[in-house]
Every structure is written in structure tokens, then in C-alpha cells.
């Protein structure tokens, strides 16, 4: 590779990595995701926000013990009241005075149908209504089924479906992870598109501010495009590497520490077992690299043949429409990763980065198909780069109106 390609790579890389934006997004990204993971978990486990008191008048004499813990878990303070003649009017006054948030009446009928009455000054949010209602029905079930000797706790927790793989068709020995399939595919889509878009913007910027005239008079257009793409790609890889490193650090060191200091959130440990393994991370990085080169070459060509941002957005519309297909297919593929539809779609190079990932995450792709998709993507990159390089060379020094498809074809043939 000529020396000046390295110069372009170096400039592209350093200018981006040193930018405030890069530092913010690289460090802010994991913090954001961590918050997204931890805050709900924390709230779910032990977060007690505004303490509101609910009085429970238990006419059934058995339900209070069963119901109180789950009502407390959803953020209430619970107060037991005995049944007496004026209890309703007394509590009513307390609620109006603001001493309690409201009160609940349970009786024999509750024990049979799960019906109960709650008296409140202001209506609770739909979510609170649902949690309170499920607290009641669960308590009733526990009481009724408990008499039959059923392990209601396990049943209510959703039971468990243990998976035993009989063949070696799936490559992943890990448990299928649906959310990893979904989130990973979307994440790939975001990073690939983001960095490909950066290549397009950079190309467009160079073209519109005319610096490209100076650079092209010192080097081959094709080399400039190569340098820019590699430089931006390296920035993307750096960001992924930092994210992976930070993520591992948080999980390996941070989580046990957090749990050690606060045993109350030990449930977080379940998150650990659901994280993707090293094999999946390597696959992710490979898919990013291949996907990035396919899409960034196309974006570079679009940037080179347009003169304004609006034009470029318009010109890449067909590409974006094409990209909707794999994203829409992700859910289909995750459900049936071995189906012919999933196989064929995931082998189409432009869809592969997202769908191969989705299939791998749901444990439904043979190793040879991964290899095959890599090969196809690699060949596509060569073809796309060849075409894009020609369009780039012809387009980068042009101004004025965007070329028609016919003109583009001529550029590719004649350049």
C-alpha cells in the first residue's frame, strides 16, 4: 500500500478518535447501557420510592400473610386493619386526610374469585392497578393450590423448559439467546450504518469544500477512498474494542463487587449467564468488519457522486430500503433459524451481517454456512469496491447535478 494511503488513514483515524464526540459516545455508550440494565433491576429488586401506605382489611383471615409481601415489593407500605363495624368510614377519613394512600377490602368472595375492592382518593396508575390485582390473584392461587401440595412459587415464576440438543446442527453450544439475537442485530445495523454514513459525509465534505482537488493531485482517487474507508473502519473497531473491554471489566470485576456490597441485588447475577460468549463476540466483530466494508464502499460512491447532503440522502434511499428487509426478517429468523427462508436470506451478502448474527444467536446456523456467508461477503466487497471506486473516481471531481443511472453506468465502464 502506498505511503500516502497510510497518511490518509492516520489523519482520518486520529482526527476522529480525538474528537469530543468519539470520547463522549465511547464512554457514554456503556454507561447508558449499564443504566438501562441496572435501573430497572434496581427498582425491581429493592427500590422504595415514595412510601405510600395501603391498609388491608382482611375479612378472609388467610390472605393478608400471602398478599402483604408482594404489595410491599411493588412499593407500598402495608398496614393490617382488623375488621370492625366502622372500619370503612374510619379508613375513609384517614385516606381523605392523606394519612394513608388507600385501603383494600378482602373477604370470602376474594378467596373464591379474586375480586376485591380498593378505596382510593386518586385513581392509581394502570401499572399499579395491574400489580395490585396480580398480587391478589397470586395470593389466592397460593392459598388454594397450596392446599393441594403444588409448588406454587415455582409455577408462578414461569416454570422452566430445559433444552437438550440431540444433534450438532447448531454451532452454538451455548443456550439460545433470543435477546442477544435481537439486540445484536440492531446494534450491528446501527454501528455499520453509522460508520458507513461517516464515510459518506467525509467524502461529501471533502468534495464540497474542494480540498479534494489538492489531495487528488497528489494521489490516486482510489487510494484516497481506500484510506478514508480503512481509517473510519479502524475508528469503528476501536470503539467496539473499548466497549467490549469496558463491558468485560464491568462484568468480571464490577458485578461481583456490586453484589458483594449489596447482596440485595444478587438477582443481577442472572444477567451474567445470559451474556454472549467470546465466540459470539468474535463473530460480531467479523460481521461488523465485513458489513462495514460493503456498506461504506457504497456510501463513499454515493458521497462522491452528490454535491449536497440532501442529494446524498436521496441517492442512498434505495440502499436504506434494501436494509429494511433484513431488519424485518430478524424476528422471523430468530423464531425459525434453520428454515430455508432464514438460510437463503442470511446468505444474501447484503443481509448477512444482521441475519447470520440473528441465526447464530438463536443457535440455528451450521458453521459451514457462516463460512459461506463470509466468503460471499468478501467477494461482494471486492465487487462493490471495484464499482464504487470507479464511481468515486469519476464523481469526486464533478460538481453540479447528480448523475443519472445511465451516466453512472458509463462512469463504471469508462473510468
Amino acid at each position: 500500500m502506498p505511503v500516502n494511503v497510510w497518511t490518509v488513514i492516520r489523519r482520518e483515524y486520529l482526527e476522529r478518535v480525538r474528537s469530543k464526540w468519539f470520547i463522549l459516545s465511547t464512554l457514554g455508550g456503556p454507561v447508558f447501557i449499564l443504566l438501562l440494565m441496572l435501573v430497572p433491576a434496581y427498582l425491581l429488586v429493592g427500590g422504595k420510592q415514595t412510601e405510600q401506605t395501603v391498609a388491608i382489611v382482611d375479612g378472609s383471615n388467610v390472605l393478608y400473610e400471602l398478599i402483604a409481601p408482594s404489595v410491599e415489593a411493588s412499593g407500598f407500605e402495608v398496614k393490617e386493619e382488623r375488621w370492625y363495624a366502622d372500619v370503612v368510614s374510619t379508613l375513609r377519613q384517614e385516606a381523605i386526610d392523606g394519612e394513608i394512600w388507600g385501603f383494600m377490602l378482602l373477604d370470602e368472595l376474594t378467596l373464591e374469585t379474586g375480586e376485591a375492592i380498593i378505596y382510593v382518593v386518586a385513581p392509581p396508575s394502570p401499572i399499579r392497578q395491574i400489580t395490585l390485582q396480580s398480587a391478589i390473584t397470586q395470593a389466592v392461587m397460593k392459598y388454594q393450590l397450596g392446599k393441594e401440595g403444588v409448588d406454587v412459587e415455582a409455577l408462578l415464576a414461569g416454570g422452566e423448559l430445559k433444552l437438550e440438543l440431540l444433534s450438532e446442527k447448531g454451532i452454538s453450544a451455548e443456550q439460545p439467546q433470543f435477546w442477544v439475537g435481537y439486540l445484536g442485530a440492531f446494534f450491528l445495523y446501527m454501528v455499520i450504518l453509522f460508520y458507513a454514513d461517516s464515510v459518506m459525509r467525509a467524502t461529501l465534505e471533502e468534495k464540497t469544500n474542494r480540498i479534494v482537488e489538492i489531495i487528488i493531485s497528489s494521489m490516486e482517487p482510489w487510494h484516497l477512498m481506500l484510506g478514508k474507508t480503512l481509517g473510519v473502519g479502524a475508528v469503528g473497531l476501536t470503539q467496539l474494542a473499548i466497549w467490549i473491554a469496558l463491558g468485560s471489566l464491568i462484568i468480571v470485576i464490577g458485578m461481583p463487587l456490586l453484589i458483594a456490597f449489596n447482596p440485595g441485588i444478587a438477582e443481577l447475577e442472572t444477567i451474567l449467564s445470559a451474556l454472549p460468549g467470546i465466540g459470539m463476540i468474535v463473530l460480531f466483530v467479523c460481521l461488523f468488519i465485513l458489513g462495514f466494508f460493503m456498506y461504506s464502499s457504497l456510501h463513499a460512491a454515493v458521497g462522491a457522486m452528490c454535491s449536497t447532503d440532501e442529494e446524498a440522502q436521496q441517492a442512498r434511499l434505495p440502499m436504506m430500503v434494501l436494509l429494511v428487509i433484513p431488519i424485518a426478517m430478524v424476528s422471523v429468523v430468530i423464531v425459525e433459524p434453520m428454515s430455508p427462508v432464514a438460510t437463503w436470506f442470511s446468505l444474501f451478502p447484503f443481509f448477512s451481517p444482521f441475519l447470520v448474527w440473528a441465526r447464530a444467536a438463536s443457535g440455528g446456523i451450521p458453521a459451514w454456512q457462516i463460512g459461506c456467508s463470509f466468503l460471499l461477503m468478501f467477494l461482494t466487497i471486492l465487487a462493490v469496491a471495484w464499482v464504487a471506486g470507479r464511481i468515486y473516481k469519476a464523481g469526486i471531481l464533478m460538481a453540479g447535478k447528480r448523475p443519472t443511472l445511465l451516466e453512472l453506468w458509463r462512469w463504471v465502464r469508462e473510468t
Binding site: 489523519r11 482526527e15 469544500n209 482537488e213 489531495i215 497528489s218
Partner: protein, 318 residues
């Protein structure tokens, strides 16, 4: 290398944009080591011509050679280029930008840094070395771009309207640098529509008008050839020697005597007559034409700011 005596050689180069011919069958040579001015009205094809030399546009017909060889092999290291429409990486620090430009032309990073620092000091911009270019004034940006075009110490410097938009002081600074490069043996091609500047700076001029070359010659020879036929004289003694067949008329202008000669008349004859008449001749000055006058005479239009003239930058890009 064949024919190394010419830094630039264009052979019947033609460039068309659609139906408009921007440059027509242009033959144009720049010998090594001269400062050559490419002059012409707006829209005459100057920028198109320069862009073809720089490989930004490709001629429809004809050939371009630099230093007698393939221009593509020469440009990066041996040619410096300041385009008319100037671009910078606005977000880059000035020093990094200059070092980058040096590096893509084959100068090592270390050397590039050193040269950038030297240039910034020379142009009194050293305090700005670590500032981003977006904070620079337009004139400062232009100086940075100028440095960028010379940082790899090219043998051939191609400057498209290098002085436009600069104040006279900075114009002089850059002019000085151009002269400096010239004295070190570099060849310089600059396009301009400022005739005074071309007259001050250039040894050769090439005048292009309506896509065609009108004049291409050594400036001194050109002026001699284009003499107006006016002699300014100052003398003591009788004035009868001024009556002669060579002289069309005698004007008194600002206290000077201007002799307007007839076409093809020999001024030596008048001088001889004066001397034999015993007149004491204090001044006998063959008035040289200004480049501006030559320009107007040959370009057929008044050069600058000609309303309705086609602007070559808009055409140069289709």
C-alpha cells in the same frame, strides 16, 4: 526524460463541456525556471487549462506533459498546486493540516512538521499553529493554503489566482515568496486577471481569450513588439528637428512632449536628426505599452469584471 527543458507542455489540448468549448487546440509551453503568467478574461479557459495540467480534468484531445514525462508520475512530489476554489479541513489544527499535506506528497512527518513550523513563522502565523483552521480569518486561511502548496518544495508551482482576496501587504508577502522560489530555480505558472501583478512578476505571459491562445511570449519581447509608437522627449534648443516624415503629431502632455510616430517609422532617424541639429537631448524614451493595454487590445474585451462574461469556474465543473 525527453525534452526536459519544458516544465509544462500542452499539445493541441481541447476540452469541451457539452456544447461549450472551454479550451480549444491549445499549444502552450512553459520553459523551466520562468515565472509565467496565464492571463485572460473571466471564462476564457484559464482554470480549465490549469485543471487539465493538474489531472483534475482530462482533455478530450491533445496531450499534457510535465518535465517531459507523464504528468501522473510527476505531480505528487514535484508540483505544488493552489486551486482557485480553496479547501481546508476546517476542524484540523493548522500544524496537523500542513504536515498532512506535506506527508501525502512524500515528505516525512518529522520534516513536514519542521517545515510547517518554519513557514508559519515566516508568515507570522506561528502563534496559530495549534489552533483549528475554522477559527482563522479568510486571509489567514489563504496563507495556510499557500503554504500547503509549497511545503514539499516543488519544482513547479501552479497557482490559480493566488492573490485574490488578499490585502496588499499580504499580496507582497506572497509575491516575495514566489520570487524566492523562482530564484531557487523553480518554475511558476500563475493565472491572474490582475495585469499589474502579472507585469511585475512574470517573465512570460500567455494570453487566452475565448478558449484560444492569443499571445504567448516573453514579456519583454512582447512589450517591444507591441510598442505604442510614442516617444517621450525632453530637450534644450530649437524644436525644428521634430518636423519629419516619421512623426504623425506632437502632443504636449503634463509638461512632457509626446511624439506619436507613424506606423513602421524608425525612431532612430529622429534621434539622429536631433543630434545633428545640435539639440541637447535630455530624454528620449520609447514608451512601452502597459500589459493592460496589450491585454485589452488582444483579448478584445475589457478584462476585469466584464459583465455577462462566462465564468470559467462554473463552466469548469460542468
Amino acid at each position: 526524460m525527453i525534452n526536459n527543458e519544458y516544465a509544462i507542455r500542452l499539445k493541441s489540448v481541447t476540452k469541451q463541456f457539452g456544447t461549450h468549448t472551454a479550451v480549444a487546440e491549445l499549444d502552450f509551453d512553459v520553459p523551466r525556471g520562468v515565472i509565467c503568467g496565464l492571463i485572460g478574461p473571466n471564462g476564457s479557459g484559464k482554470t480549465t487549462c490549469i485543471r487539465m495540467i493538474m489531472g483534475i480534468l482530462h482533455p478530450d484531445a491533445g496531450s499534457v506533459s510535465l518535465f517531459g514525462g507523464d504528468p501522473d508520475d510527476m505531480r505528487a512530489a514535484r508540483v505544488g498546486y493552489l486551486p482557485e476554489e480553496r479547501g481546508v479541513y476546517k476542524k484540523m489544527k493548522c500544524m496537523d493540516f500542513l504536515t498532512f499535506l506535506a506527508e501525502i506528497r512524500g515528505v516525512s512527518r518529522l520534516e513536514g512538521k519542521k517545515r510547517s513550523a518554519d513557514w508559519l513563522e515566516r508568515l507570522e502565523l506561528d502563534e496559530w499553529a495549534d489552533r483549528r483552521i475554522q477559527d482563522f480569518s479568510k486571509g489567514m486561511q489563504q496563507k495556510i493554503q499557500f503554504i500547503g502548496s509549497v511545503i514539499h518544495e516543488p519544482e513547479l508551482l501552479i497557482l490559480d489566482e493566488p492573490f485574490s482576496g488578499l490585502d496588499p501587504i499580504n499580496q507582497n508577502v506572497l509575491e516575495e515568496i514566489v520570487r524566492d522560489f523562482h530564484s531557487k530555480g523553480a518554475t511558476i505558472l500563475l493565472s491572474t486577471h490582475l495585469m499589474d501583478q502579472a507585469e511585475r512578476l512574470c517573465e512570460r505571459v500567455c494570453l487566452i481569450s475565448r478558449a484560444r491562445k492569443v499571445l504567448d511570449s516573453d514579456l519583454r519581447e512582447l512589450k517591444a513588439k507591441e510598442r505604442t509608437g510614442v516617444v517621450v522627449v525632453n530637450y534644450e534648443g530649437p524644436g525644428h528637428w521634430l518636423d519629419g516624415p516619421e512623426i504623425d503629431r506632437v502632443d504636449e502632455l503634463n509638461g512632457e512632449t509626446h511624439l506619436v510616430l507613424k506606423d513602421g517609422a524608425d525612431h532612430q532617424e529622429i534621434l539622429r536628426r536631433g543630434l545633428t541639429a545640435g539639440v541637447k537631448i535630455l530624454r528620449f524614451d520609447l514608451l512601452e505599452p502597459r500589459l493592460h493595454e496589450i491585454f485589452v487590445r488582444h483579448a478584445g474585451v475589457d478584462s476585469i469584471g466584464e459583465a455577462g462574461a462566462l465564468n470559467d469556474t462554473t463552466l469548469g465543473v460542468q
